[in-house]
Symmetry: D2
Subunit: 495 residues, 4 copies
């Protein structure tokens, strides 16, 4: 680097100038008692040499956090743990956040109970939502529970670690991320989700199958991503410069792209099964490729979840996540969760230290020491989607460098898809505004505007809404239930 | 990569599917007779192993192109030329473009003559433009000469190599790039310029000086760039996560940041001298850091080039590029150009094969074989500048991957800077619209709106405009000079 | 008027300056054979002294036009006919348009047939559209028939009477009006509809009822109107400055505002019955008052027309317009049309010359001789709805003066209503774009995006679409039916 | 009015419903001691039968208010005073505002002193502003004095008469009006100014002159107005439907439209002289007609007020308003004010009751009892100027009805004019934002961005700014002068 054009520079006193930074960081994990995610992070950190430091685990279930902290330190003892990390479980959230460089948010409200309501009650009103985690009556309830909490998290970050990078994994991801920004507009928060990787995986499969290539690295599948979480779209896809839409179009001419499924065929598979038939159908319908799992996509298309059920949904190879399944999933003894830190530490099961495939640690490394990384993130719109309103949380690719995440411009959407995206953005913004005042009646406006609810008479929708609120009342302390005109006359709520 | 979630995939016929691409490319260089740029490219290609292929050089001066082709092939003979390239000079532009993967545009209209008019005539009207290459009366004249030619280039690309990546280096860069898109909206064209690198260089100097670091790599200076060519701005700057604005603010407290220069001090330096005093002044004035050489920046701030001249300009360490200097610069025998391919080939001078520091070859490699690269480019606005109109050519960072260049969102500008940017965008768009009809009177509206011209009475501006048009008449064949009401009554034009 | 501030004015030659205009006009009536509208216009003109002149009646049914022309001239003979008009039926449309100052457009494609398809076929697919004239499958079919014709009308106006004021009464009004502007962007066209007057009427009723006022003039009910035709909204309503929403809110507390109807109660009323129950329901749902007849409003709210039919629709006091009714309505002998020009002229019925209540003649007077008038119109958006895209045809108030119609700014809509408006705007724009290329597959995208269709599986919607197209094939000559991928595989279309 | 379509309506209790309003109003006049405006209003009210009531006059100079109140009641005694009004002078502003239906704002800060600074100091820096009331250094100083006061007025209106209609006549009109909305976004405030009437007057002159018409009523000159106060533009102008631009274009071919003036010719005329030469020049330059007095227009075009002064300004028939003239104008004994209420009441001069030509009373009548009226007003942008940012105060036509003022959409401006408008909007918004924090340094950003200041070096502009602030310090109590970095180092301010 040279500057021979400059005539002169004067020497100077250097006190109080910033120091050359090092790679030591503090990570705060809120919800750090998680049975599956925390062990994955522990493994990835143990394999990282780019950064090092301390991980503070906080969980309302302190014992769970403690167990994971023990596990983390246990892993550090291993010879193949090249990273340098210390784990602590803390009893106060503030202790986790103070001075943190990174904050991981992954929390749930008693999901074994709330998810059951979210799925069961709408089912009784004929709404056959497949997951209930993002939109639909269940998604909106979940948002009503979550937004006040995440606003509170936003305030806590401002107080304890205002410059920290916050990685939010909690659903409904858009609302939770939006709530963080509502509380603290300067927060460095991003919403992270895996669904888009499925699209890359699917496209990699097509390359392998139709181009006779052996192993395609997901990183090489370059896609232009845009939309909202769980309803993202791809209008450019390339592998080494090859336009993958040629492969997609070719694939759509094969029988496999029009396969129909029966309830019997799906009987023994998990609700996470993904046969891509919804993906192909949406591509045929809109001329642009969706990039999320089929079980999420169907929730956005009411035509998939109305009609004869379960046949008309199963036909697409998609299976509803039942309330019963949800209840079991969150009950460790009945769940098919695969991590078991106690067994590992006790030697009852063999633990292998391996890369989880998650990108969180790579992101932390890049944000700390620099370099260049591209991945998809959920962030307030600052132009990445020129045809969506400013500030709405959208999902697109972004570029990471040292202490910086900037969205990449993704361009516009076809009118019909944009129309749907904006419908949900209207609901996101309405619900956040409603939460600011605890205004249940305004929240009901968003509820009515949800495409799954939209076909119900107002009165019916109101009963369902009141019944959901009544069932989950204890998780809605920040909402003015008593002052609501919508709830006032409802039997379900009074009961 | 796995897909165990999918139930089945059917085998298929693979005819007519795309092949796995290789790294062989054809580069068309329009203006390939250049004495300085072409040898640099030849050197960089000789050092590249990422791509290989053919370079077709086209120049209105065929002999110059031929000389460079000979030189290119001569370089390939060297042992240290690890790249694999063949050079041809072609007599027809179409032969260069046909099947090209990359097109380099770097052309000038008889600059030894036109630049002299561009600088001399406004000078007589009291306009002391420092360069005359971007805006001001000279810049607008240059745009009027250039836009029709670049629209024609856009059409030629559509005809001969519609998918090629077009790298435009020609000034006025914004107008030339915008004209390519006007003619062929789906063109893959980017405008490339070095000025932003100066800002990175300047910031690297500050890191070295104030943080006691020895050698800072420009790539590590991460800046968020936004604006228009030669008037770009930086509102975030980091080195390994360190906020460089702390260093800038510290530097501004040093005497060096308020140094004033006299005409005598500048007497023997070239007009390319850059003392950063304009940069500091603009930062003080607007609270955001400009990222272009001071000689370009002053053109955008009429307050720098009005008053007592040359003193009031020289005070900032900036020297006007005189018409005389321009004339010599383009006359090889009088110029200080440093490349001399004849001497090298004849053995009269020692040629050393070394990296030029240009990023063009690295960009071509990424666009061809993939990877991830970030650099600043000039592209139509698709959201990278949310507060500037869609389609205006703006300069921001962008991400390159295989066959893709996507701008990174840069956010908004302070009102006062945005105001200036939009003023010029209005002129860019007006002049392109005027060129579509050859409408000189509409072009005059842009001329009047230029900040350098704005303080002149309409009548005076009209005389200057007419005089410029009269002097450069032969370079304006696509403009309807005879039909112009503005020119009609002017003595200068009739003469 | 004075100008004593000016120092001097010079006298001048006045040749070729415009003359003082007079009030003689030519009116071209396309669809002038209408049995109901033309006699009304004839009556209103006979009572007008503001303008005078000639009326040229053109109709594909020349005899009908001739009959109306005779009637017009017959009316002029009356003593109480104070206006001064001559009526001619013309055989060529060009003869009507040449030199026209006003063009009235009111046409239908063989409605007795097409309307029956529009209503019957969707009914078979479970879509219980109440009118089928605006949106829904029937509305979209009607738009597909109408857009090419109205583009052609736009071109004819440009050719024969480019400065004429065009009053379009034809449904689907938004699409027909938008098509005129698509063909001829400088056209002076406005779309005119009565539905908003119903809202004023309803509000006047409330004033009379709750404020003990005897006769409230509709002109005194000032409302701020915004939306799209047949789905307009009112957020400000005043009578002599009294906020009428106080009355509306009071009325909603009365039993009458929650009255439910049975199919039996509606058995003997016409489909035009309006009990305002949908109006109140939408006001409760969205917090803003709709301003269109209930039968139109229900089409925009799928929740009204799904469920148990006809009960769930009739409950709101709304009755479906059956295909059978439509067929009869357009068959004079079976219709309940009230005008009968033959009987009048023959003396078989008594004709009374009276003001029809229509505002067309008043508008023509204002546009010709000046004054100030306010009414609601459908016009491309130029800011009257700041939150809707530019150029979309929207319905708001406008101000008329001599030769000028300018929309009044109406402000924004609540998110949930805006969401619906934009959904339809997307469909309007998509269908116009599709019509430009005759692209049936793009039209199908709009069809799928219609809220009435949205809940159908793509495949089902495709069959309905194909069946409609097949039935109305002869009215779709400008669409590329053969090139459509959507139609290609459909049994309905092939049959 | 009929409602035979409705099946039934139920009778109801009518308590607490609004009453039929009457035409009695209370007018609060802030600045009611004015020597010229208050008597005019008193006269107009005395001639009005549309409304009646009470006028409360408040002025910091209580005696002046009292004198005007006496005069008002004296006028009411006359036989030809058909209106019914009572006048009171009040000592507390709150007493004037309480329960007011209309508030008139017309105030000045010791203009005899401040105006002199506003004009004199910039003059010393070479800025030859013609009026100094709107923009330029003087205009910005005036805005800095005025914004805090008008925010305070906005708060007072919210407290005492939240639904009142506020007519603001105070300059700088845009800033004062904008400040009212900043403090109280729901205020019913409009900014009113006479300049646009001059354009109508000028156009009426052309009709009389070139169309041989005797007396043209200003109301018949229909113009489409858009821009910002004192820099409004007209792109449509008609008299009885005749396009007046034909007359304008004809006039521009006459010698009178290119007349030049000498300082001698202007010696004895007032600074209010208007020869329209600037109007014609701007029309030639931009292709659109300005609608404000020439003395205001020149302030927006720096090219008019730079060069050889006063010749280069006088050439256009415009004369600078000197500081001396300003000082005299506000000193009754030296002023040429024409009203003299004492003389009238004492019988020393004959008072004639006649219509002043002002529209304020007509506006109050329409807002109170209804009807339809069109005039130009200054209001926050809600779409009337689609190409200007939302909320900026712009001047366009508006429609008045009972209790409602709604802007009429005015369409877009040519790029070069829009560019200027947006420049000033940026300054309006910056200064309001600065005032919110008392941030002098941000105000200086707006100061630097003013076109009159823009050509000065930052340092020079800073000295002028500091000198102005120092001179007017006592009128800037809400600004944080001590905390300003810009002022800190300035000799002028320290002195």
């Amino acid at each position: 680097m040279s500057s021979d054009q400059r005539l002169a520079t004067e020497s100077t006193d250097r006190s109080s100038l910033p120091d050359v930074p090092d790679e030591t960081v503090k990570i705060a994990y809120i919800g750090g008692g998680a049975r599956e995610w925390t062990p994955k992070l522990i493994g990835d950190l143990a394999l990282s040499t780019g950064i090092r430091g301390e991980v503070a685990l906080f969980d309302l279930d302190y014992e769970a956090a403690k167990r994971n902290a023990e596990f983390g330190n246990w892993v550090q003892e291993r010879d193949d743990a090249v990273g340098d990390w210390t784990y602590n479980a803390v009893e106060e959230r503030a202790d986790a956040l103070d001075g943190a460089d990174f904050v991981i948010l992954s929390t749930q409200f008693n999901p074994a109970e709330t998810f059951v309501h979210d799925l069961r009650i709408p089912r009784e009103y004929g709404i056959y939502g497949a997951v209930g985690a993002t939109i639909g009556p269940g998604g909106i309830m979940r948002a009503m529970r979550t937004i006040p909490v995440y606003k509170e998290f936003g305030n806590a970050v401002r107080e304890h670690c205002p410059d920290a990078w916050v990685f939010n994994y909690t659903n409904p991801l858009t609302w939770a991320t939006r709530a963080l920004y509502e509380a603290y507009p300067d927060i460095n928060a991003i919403g992270l989700c895996h669904e888009v990787f499925h699209a890359q995986d699917m496209l990699a499969n097509l390359v392998e199958e139709y181009m006779d290539v052996d192993e395609v690295d997901l990183d090489e599948i370059e896609i232009n991503v845009k939309g909202i979480n769980h309803y993202t779209w791809v209008d450019e896809a390339r592998w080494r410069g090859v336009d993958l839409f040629e492969l997609v179009d070719h694939h759509l001419e094969q029988e496999d792209a029009e396969r129909e499924f029966t309830p019997e065929e799906l009987e023994d598979v998990t609700p996470f099964v993904d046969n891509n038939q919804v993906t192909w159908e949406l591509y045929r319908r809109f001329g642009i490729l969706p990039a999320a799992g089929d079980r999420h996509l169907v929730e956005y298309g009411p035509w998939f979840i109305q009609g004869e059920m379960p046949d008309d949904l199963n036909r697409w190879g998609v299976k509803r996540t039942t309330a019963d399944y949800r209840a079991k999933h969150w009950n460790p003894s009945e769940s098919d969760q695969t991590t078991d830190v106690e067994a590992w530490m006790d030697g009852d099961a063999a633990f292998e230290l391996e890369d989880s495939g998650e990108v969180a640690v790579e992101m932390m490394e890049t944000l700390t020491v620099g370099g260049l990384m591209k991945t998809h993130v959920n962030l307030p719109n600052t132009g990445q989607m020129f045809d969506v309103e400013e500030g709405a949380v959208v999902e697109t690719n972004a570029v990471l460098t040292a202490d910086s995440v900037r969205p990449i411009t993704a361009g516009k959407l076809p009118r019909q898809v944009r129309n749907q995206i904006r419908t949900h953005v209207n609901n996101h913004e309405t619900l956040v505004e409603a939460a600011n005042e605890g205004d249940v009646d305004l929240a009901f406006r968003a509820f009515l505007n949800d495409p799954q609810v939209k076909t119900l008479q107002t009165e019916t929708a109101r009963e369902m809404f009141a019944e959901l609120i009544a069932a989950e009342r204890e998780y809605l302390p920040d909402w003015d239930l008593e002052g609501s005109a919508v709830l006032a006359g409802s039997d379900a709520f009074d009961a």
